[in-house]
């Protein structure tokens, strides 16, 4: 358990850890970007009732929601190189960071797909009918009428899952990625002050989560600007 507890070290460690915040945010940004694209693709078969594709998508979503992110991380880390070796593609030397981004994108894809689907289905069918009746094409009706309303419903859920996955990035170090947590582990190895490192890490994560929450609540207000408070919508 190492040396005696030294609170001064907590402050000293914070700048060392914050230097690696970039990697954590990199994982988060790329996985949200790819996850959003994947989420849209995955949501389509369910929205348009495409046979077979719909069943595949359902199993995919159920699996992602039914297993811990840690297991998914290990499955991608060990499974993807084996899977690609069928076509003689060798990725065993690929940086662990990419495996993390792939895993988190896959995980986001499933969760975002459910959020998008439920948000789009929450829009009243009358809205689309009204759009058609004024002569809009399906594409116009979707982008001008359904989408702006759906994004308003989807946003709080997406914000929650982004914050959740920010916290989940702390597991990336298990496959050897040098993010904040990974740097923390090396600090522990070199100084043997484990408790102080984990307290510093908690402070850093807490501050970032608070910042994210603030940004999200401001954006949510912006998205809701056409909805007066008193009258409940939908």
């Amino acid at each position: 358990m190492g040396k005696a507890f030294d609170p001064a070290l907590i402050i000293e460690f914070i700048p060392m850890l914050v230097k690696y915040l970039g990697v954590t945010l990199e994982i988060l940004c790329f996985s949200i970007l790819f996850g959003t694209i994947l989420g849209i693709i995955v949501a389509l078969p369910k929205l348009f009732h495409v046979p077979i594709a719909r069943q595949i998508v359902t199993v995919y979503i159920s699996f992602i929601r039914g297993t811990p992110i840690l297991i998914q991380l290990f499955l991608v880390y060990y499974g993807l190189p084996a899977f690609l070796s069928i076509w003689d593609i060798d990725i065993t030397r690929m940086d662990a960071l990419y495996f993390v981004i792939i895993t988190y994108s896959l995980s986001h894809g499933a969760i975002f797909a459910e959020i998008f689907r439920s948000a789009i289905q929450a829009i009243d069918v009358g809205q689309t009918e009204a759009a058609y009746s004024v002569g809009m094409k399906p594409i116009q009706s979707f982008f001008r009428i359904v989408f702006p309303q759906a994004i308003r419903i989807a946003f709080p859920n997406m914000a929650n899952s982004v914050i959740g996955s920010l916290k989940d990035t702390s597991l990336a170090f298990t496959i050897g990625v040098m993010d904040m947590m990974g740097r923390g582990e090396t600090l522990i190895a070199s100084t043997a002050h484990a408790l102080e490192v984990y307290i510093s890490l908690s402070i850093v994560y807490y501050v970032i989560v608070l910042l994210f929450e603030k940004v999200f609540s401001v954006s949510e207000k912006y998205l809701n600007r056409y909805h007066s408070q008193g009258i409940s919508s939908i």
Binding site: L70, S170, Y205, V209, L210
Partner: protein
């Protein structure tokens, strides 16, 4: 791709032995966390001086940091605190006699408490004030109002949230393998390293987690149906 399917089955049987520990790590923190959450929700609802800001900070901090931090801070910090107390009172006890699983359960209970306090709060606030007033006007006392009016509705309202929390916690227990607990992920890791077949072992572990999740979801579905059977929509 070479997947040794017979080894997946061997690993599956081996990992299955770790399911009870995983379930303990899932449900004990939720039960303890429910008590913590109830206390915290009441403190926040009644706005008790001094305690209320602490409760607010507790909920915000534990919801704002990864569960792995709670486990690690308690795992490393608790023994230091315990040793300090033991030294002060000269107790015939050593902190390294405490099994690690106690630390994990303590940490996860605190995590669960913060999430459950929010769930309980939203459940209670879903009961409209008019119903509580109506109950008082027909002569119920506070205990009766809580027992007959607030709790049944608040709990029915909370079923989906609590289900999500239980599934979330089932998945969170996978972190416990980092402090060498032999739960599903830990067992998978041991089987994998012994035979150098990582993919197969984690496939087996994934299937087990998936199956448990589906079982919990099915039970929750029927529970929700039952809990909401009496409440019909007003419209």
């Amino acid at each position: 791709m070479v997947i040794d399917f017979s080894f997946v089955w061997i690993a599956f049987k081996e990992i299955l032995k770790a399911v009870p520990l995983t379930l303990i790590l899932t449900f004990v923190p939720i039960v303890v966390g429910f008590l913590i959450g109830l206390a915290v929700a009441l403190i926040r609802a009644h706005n008790i001086k001094f305690l209320s800001p602490i409760a607010n900070f507790y909920v915000s901090f534990f919801r704002g940091t990864p569960a792995i931090m709670h486990i690690m801070v308690i795992y490393f910090g608790f023994p230091i605190l315990l040793d300090y107390v033991i030294k002060k009172f000269n107790l015939p006890f050593q902190s390294n006699h405490v099994p690690i699983v106690v630390f994990v359960i303590t940490a996860l209970s605190l995590t669960a408490g913060s999430y459950l306090s929010e769930i309980i709060r939203s459940g209670i606030s879903s009961v409209s004030k008019g119903q509580i007033e109506a109950a008082y006007t027909i002569g119920m006392n506070t205990f009766q109002v809580v027992k007959r009016i607030i709790l049944p509705q608040a709990l029915a309202q909370s079923v989906p949230n609590i289900t999500n929390l239980i599934i979330g916690f089932l998945h969170t227990t996978s972190i416990a393998f980092l402090v060498s607990q032999k739960e599903i992920t830990g067992a998978a890791n041991i089987v994998a390293s012994k035979n150098l077949k990582f993919l197969e072992a984690f496939i087996a572990a994934g299937i087990i987690y998936w199956a448990i999740t589906l079982i919990i979801e099915t039970i929750a579905y029927f529970l929700e149906k039952k809990a909401k059977s009496y409440s019909r929509s007003a419209f």
